[in-house]
C-alpha cells in the first residue's frame, strides 16, 4: 500500500502551566524569609511579591542573582525524574519625584538557563507531578509602577508576562507505507513563535508606624488552551491536498482529522495578606497568608476528536479493516483552593556605618489542591513543607567607588513533600495504587546595588 499525496497541517499552541516563582520564590532574601515579605518588601523582588514595594525605598536599586532547585520526587520509590530548575533572576526599581509626589518603575525577570519555555504533552492517564513537572519551565517578566501618595501608603500595579510557544507545522508529499525510508518525499514548513501572555498584579503596603507594616497583593488568573489540529487529505476526497491509499492498482480515498484541545497553562487568582513587625530594631518578624483559587483550575486532560474516512471500493470490502476511533472528553481536575501560611524572621546580627549582616529563616506550608487520584487519571501532588535559611551582607562604606551600598544575599531551602497514598476505585486500574512523596532542594545567590 502506498499513501498518495499526503498533506498534514498541525497547529500547536502549546503553553505549559504557571510561573516558577509561585513554587520557589524570587530573590534570595525573600526566599530565605519564606516568602513572607508582602508587607515590607522593597528590593527588586517587589515586582513579584508586592508591586507597591517598588516605591518604598525611594532609591535606585538593581539586582541580579542565580537560582537553582533540584527535585527528588518519587512514585512508589521510583524516581519521577522531575527536571531541575535553574536560571537567572534580575530586576530594578527606578524611583522618581514630581514635587513631593513619589513614584517608581519596576522590572523583574526570571530566565531559566536550560530552556526558555517547554511544552510537554503526556498520555492522558500517565502520572505526572502536576505542579512541578512542567510548571516552572518558563520565563517570567514583570513591569510595574508604584506611587506613594502619603508616607504611610504605597500602591503599585502592573503586568506580568509569561512565555509560551506556538507552532504551525505543515507537511505535504507522499509516504510509501511499505518502505517509508525509500519511497517517501515530504516537504514541510515550520513556523514557531515564542509569544507572551499577560496577567495583572496589584498591591498595597500600609505602614502605620515605623515598626509595623501591612501589605496585600493580588495576582491575576490566566488559562490558555493548548490545541493540536491535524488534517490529512480533503474531506470530500478531492482537491490539492487529497490523500489516499494505493492498494495494488486501486486508489482508495482517505481523510483523517485530529483535534486535541486542553488547558495547558493555568495560574490561579492569588491574594496575599501580610504583616511585619519590628519589636526591636534588630528583629523583624513577618507572617503572611496566601489564598490561591485552585478550585477554578481547568484540567489539562482535554478533548480529543478523531475522524477517519476510508471509502473502500466493493472489491476491497472485507480486506481492509478500519479500526473504530474513540473520541475523548475533558476531565475535571477537581482541585480545591489552597491557603498558604508563611513565616519569616530576620535578625540583624551586626550593623554599623560600613556593614550590615543579617540572618534569616522562613517557613511555609502548602496544602495540596489536588484530590486523591482514585480514578483513571493521575494529577499527582502532595502537601509541601518548606524551610529556608539565609544570610545577607550589606557593604555600605564603598564611597567614592559606589555612591550607595552593595548587598549579597544567600539562601537555602528544603521542601518536604510527605507521602501521599493514592488508592484506586478500580481493582484493575492500569496504574494501580501508589504512594507519592518527595524532596526539593533549592538555593541561590543575589547581589543588589543600591544607589543613594
Amino acid at each position: 500500500m502506498r499513501a498518495f499525496a499526503v498533506a498534514v497541517v498541525l497547529l500547536a499552541a502549546a503553553p505549559a502551566a504557571a510561573q516558577p516563582m509561585d513554587t520557589y520564590g524570587m530573590g534570595s532574601r525573600s526566599i530565605a524569609l519564606g516568602g513572607a515579605v508582602t508587607a515590607d518588601v522593597e528590593d527588586f523582588t517587589a515586582n513579584y511579591y508586592n508591586p507597591a514595594g517598588v516605591v518604598r525605598d525611594g532609591q535606585l536599586r538593581f539586582g541580579v542573582g542565580w537560582f537553582g532547585a533540584v527535585h527528588d520526587m518519587t512514585l512508589n520509590d521510583e524516581s519521577s525524574n522531575v527536571d531541575p530548575v535553574h536560571g537567572i533572576v534580575a530586576g530594578l526599581n527606578v524611583p522618581g519625584n514630581i514635587g513631593d509626589f513619589r513614584f517608581a518603575f519596576g522590572l523583574a525577570l526570571h530566565l531559566n538557563d536550560q530552556r526558555v519555555s517547554r511544552t510537554r504533552v503526556l498520555p492522558r492517564m500517565r502520572p505526572r507531578w502536576e505542579l512541578y513537572d512542567n510548571r516552572p519551565q518558563r520565563t517570567y517578566l514583570a513591569t510595574h509602577v508604584a506611587i506613594e501618595p502619603w508616607p504611610w501608603l504605597r500602591i503599585g500595579g502592573g503586568v506580568g508576562f509569561l512565555s509560551y510557544s506556538e507552532v504551525d507545522l505543515s507537511i505535504r508529499g507522499e509516504i510509501d507505507i511499505g518502505a517509508p525510508e525509500r519511497g517517501s518525499a515530504l516537504d514541510h514548513d515550520v513556523l514557531a513563535n515564542l509569544v507572551t501572555i499577560r496577567f495583572p498584579q496589584v498591591g498595597i503596603q500600609v505602614q502605620p508606624t515605623e515598626w509595623l507594616d501591612f501589605g496585600v497583593v493580588y495576582r491575576g488568573e490566566y488559562a490558555l488552551t493548548s490545541e493540536l489540529y491535524a488534517q490529512v487529505g480533503e474531506p470530500d476526497g478531492t482537491g490539492p491536498n487529497a490523500a489516499g491509499l494505493l492498494v495494488g492498482d486501486t486508489y482508495v480515498p482517505a481523510y483523517l482529522q485530529l483535534l486535541s484541545a486542553s488547558t495547558g497553562a493555568y495560574v490561579p487568582h492569588q491574594i496575599s495578606f501580610g504583616a511585619s513587625v519590628r519589636p526591636i530594631p534588630q528583629l523583624r518578624i513577618a507572617v503572611e497568608v496566601t489564598w490561591l483559587m485552585w478550585s477554578l483550575y481547568q484540567s489539562p486532560i482535554g478533548l480529543t476528536e478523531l475522524e477517519l474516512r476510508v471509502t473502500l471500493p466493493p472489491e476491497l470490502a472485507g480486506t481492509i479493516v478500519i479500526p473504530p476511533l474513540a473520541n475523548t472528553l475533558p476531565v475535571a481536575a477537581g482541585f480545591s483552593d489552597r491557603v498558604v501560611p508563611r513565616l519569616g524572621v530576620e535578625w540583624t546580627a551586626h550593623e554599623d556605618t560600613d556593614l550590615r549582616f543579617d540572618l534569616r529563616v522562613g517557613y511555609f506550608y502548602e496544602n495540596s489542591p489536588a484530590p486523591e487520584q482514585s480514578g483513571a487519571y493521575n494529577l499527582v501532588d502532595t502537601d509541601r513543607h518548606a524551610w529556608s535559611a539565609g544570610a545577607g551582607l550589606e557593604l555600605r562604606g564603598l564611597r567614592p567607588l559606589l555612591p550607595g551600598s552593595l548587598r549579597f544575599d544567600l539562601h537555602l531551602q528544603y521542601g518536604f513533600l510527605p507521602a501521599r497514598r493514592m488508592v484506586k476505585l478500580s481493582p484493575i486500574d492500569p496504574t494501580g495504587d501508589y504512594v507519592a512523596s518527595g524532596h526539593i532542594f533549592a538555593g541561590g545567590l543575589t547581589m543588589e546595588v543600591r544607589f543613594e
Binding site: N76, N81, D113, P127, V423, K424, I428, D429, P430, T431
Partner: protein
C-alpha cells in the same frame, strides 16, 4: 588585570549552563499489571531461538507451565513412535494429543544465565490413580512454610501431591480428586487469609476455598464483568492464573489472568487472548477491557510478581518441535517497556 581573566571565565560558565537537555522521564511509573506485556527477547532471557519469549528449550509437547521458587513445573509428552495421522478437523493451533504419549508432570530448574528461562528437567509425577485417566497435567505449585503443594489435573478433576519443598519428592494426598470435573487450578492466599483455588469447570472460572490447602469447598463461578474492547466475540473464559497483590494503598487484591476464547478474529479458528481482572473480595472481578498481550493464540497464563510494578507472565504459544505442533512455553513482562538486564552470553 585579574578581572580580565575572571569575566571571560564566568561568561563561559554561564554560557555552558544554558545548554538545554531534552528533560527527564520517570524511571518507572506505577503499574497495575494490565500490560501491555512484551515477550522477553533472547538477550534478556538468555535463550536464542526462533520464537520470541521462549522460556524453555523443549521439543516435546507442552501446555501449562507454572514457576515457583526457581523451578518450572510443566506437563509434557513425547510423540509416539508410530503416531496416527492428523485428522482433517484437527484445530490448527491445538496439540494433537493422540499422537503423543500420556502427559507427565516435570520440573525444570532456572537457568543461570538470563532472567526467566528454565532448563527442562525430570518428571515428578506420573499418573497412577484411576481418576487421573492415565495422564496428569496442568501443574500449579504453592510453597507454604515447610510444604510444597502440587495441584494438578487428571481427566477426573484436580488432585494434590505434597513435598517438603518445591525441589523435593512429591507424594499424592488421598486417592481421589480434591475438586472433581475441573482443570487448570491456580491457588493463592485469599483476601481472608484462607487458600483460594481458581479453576476452570464447565466453560467458566470457578473458585473453591480451603483453610488447610488440602480440602477445598467449591463456591461456584466467579462474577466477571464483560465489558471488553477486544476483537471478536467471547465464547468462554478459561485457564485462570491468579496472583495475590499487596498494593501500596495498603490493601490486598486478587489479580486474575485468564484466556478469553473468541471467534471472529481469525477466520475459521478460535482465538485465545489473555485478559486480566481484579477483585477486592476474590469473588467479583472487574475486567480490564484491553487484552494484556497482542498475540491472538496465547494460552495458560501463569503470573509471577517480580516487584510491585513488574509482572512476569508465562504462557504458551504455537510451535513445531517436530512434525507435530508441540507449542512452547514463553515469558512476557509487563509493563512492556521494562527490560531485564541482558546476560553476557545467550545460549541455545
Amino acid at each position: 588585570m585579574r578581572w580580565r581573566r575572571v569575566v571571560p571565565l564566568l561568561s563561559l560558565i554561564a554560557a555552558c549552563s544554558t545548554i538545554g537537555d531534552p528533560g527527564g522521564m520517570p524511571d518507572g511509573l506505577p503499574h497495575g499489571g494490565t500490560g501491555a506485556f512484551r515477550l522477553l527477547d533472547a538477550e534478556e532471557i538468555g535463550i536464542v531461538g526462533s520464537l520470541p519469549g521462549r522460556a524453555m528449550v523443549l521439543r516435546d509437547a507442552v501446555e501449562r507451565a507454572t514457576p515457583v521458587d526457581g523451578y518450572l513445573f510443566y506437563a509434557t509428552a513425547r510423540v509416539l513412535d508410530e503416531p496416527p495421522p492428523l485428522p482433517d478437523d484437527q484445530p490448527p493451533n491445538d496439540i494433537f494429543w493422540a499422537a503423543f504419549e500420556p502427559r507427565r508432570i516435570h520440573r525444570g530448574e532456572a537457568r543461570e544465565e538470563g532472567f526467566g528461562g528454565f532448563a527442562s528437567g525430570p518428571e515428578v509425577l506420573v499418573a497412577s490413580d484411576a481418576w487421573e485417566g492415565g495422564e496428569v497435567f496442568d501443574p500449579f505449585v504453592v510453597v507454604d512454610g515447610g510444604t510444597a503443594r502440587l495441584y494438578y489435573a487428571g481427566l477426573g478433576g484436580i488432585g494434590l501431591a505434597e513435598a517438603p519443598d518445591a525441589g523435593g519428592t512429591f507424594t499424592r494426598v488421598g486417592a481421589a480428586p480434591i475438586v472433581a470435573d475441573a482443570r487448570h487450578p491456580s491457588v493463592v492466599r485469599g483476601v481472608d487469609g484462607a487458600w483460594w483455588m481458581y479453576y476452570e469447570a464447565a466453560g467458566a472460572i470457578h473458585f473453591a476455598r480451603s483453610d488447610d490447602g488440602r480440602a477445598f469447598t467449591p463456591m461456584g463461578p466467579i462474577t466477571l464483568s464483560d465489558d471488553d474492547t477486544g476483537e471478536g466475540t467471547e465464547l468462554r473464559v478459561a485457564s485462570p492464573g491468579a496472583v495475590r497483590v499487596e498494593t501500596r494503598g495498603d490493601r490486598t487484591l486478587i489479580r486474575l489472568y485468564f484466556e478469553s476464547v473468541r471467534e471472529g478474529i481469525t477466520e475459521g479458528e478460535l482465538s485465545h487472548v489473555f485478559y486480566v481482572a481484579g477483585s477486592e473480595d476474590g469473588v467479583t472481578f472487574e475486567r480490564y477491557p484491553i487484552p494484556v498481550m497482542e498475540q491472538s493464540d496465547v494460552r495458560f497464563p501463569a503470573p509471577v510478581l517480580v516487584d510491585d510494578r513488574v509482572t512476569l507472565l508465562y504462557g504458551n504459544l504455537p510451535f513445531f518441535g517436530g512434525a507435530y505442533l508441540t507449542r512452547a512455553v514463553v515469558a512476557a513482562v509487563g509493563p512492556g517497556g521494562y527490560r531485564f538486564a541482558a546476560p553476557s552470553t545467550p545460549s541455545p
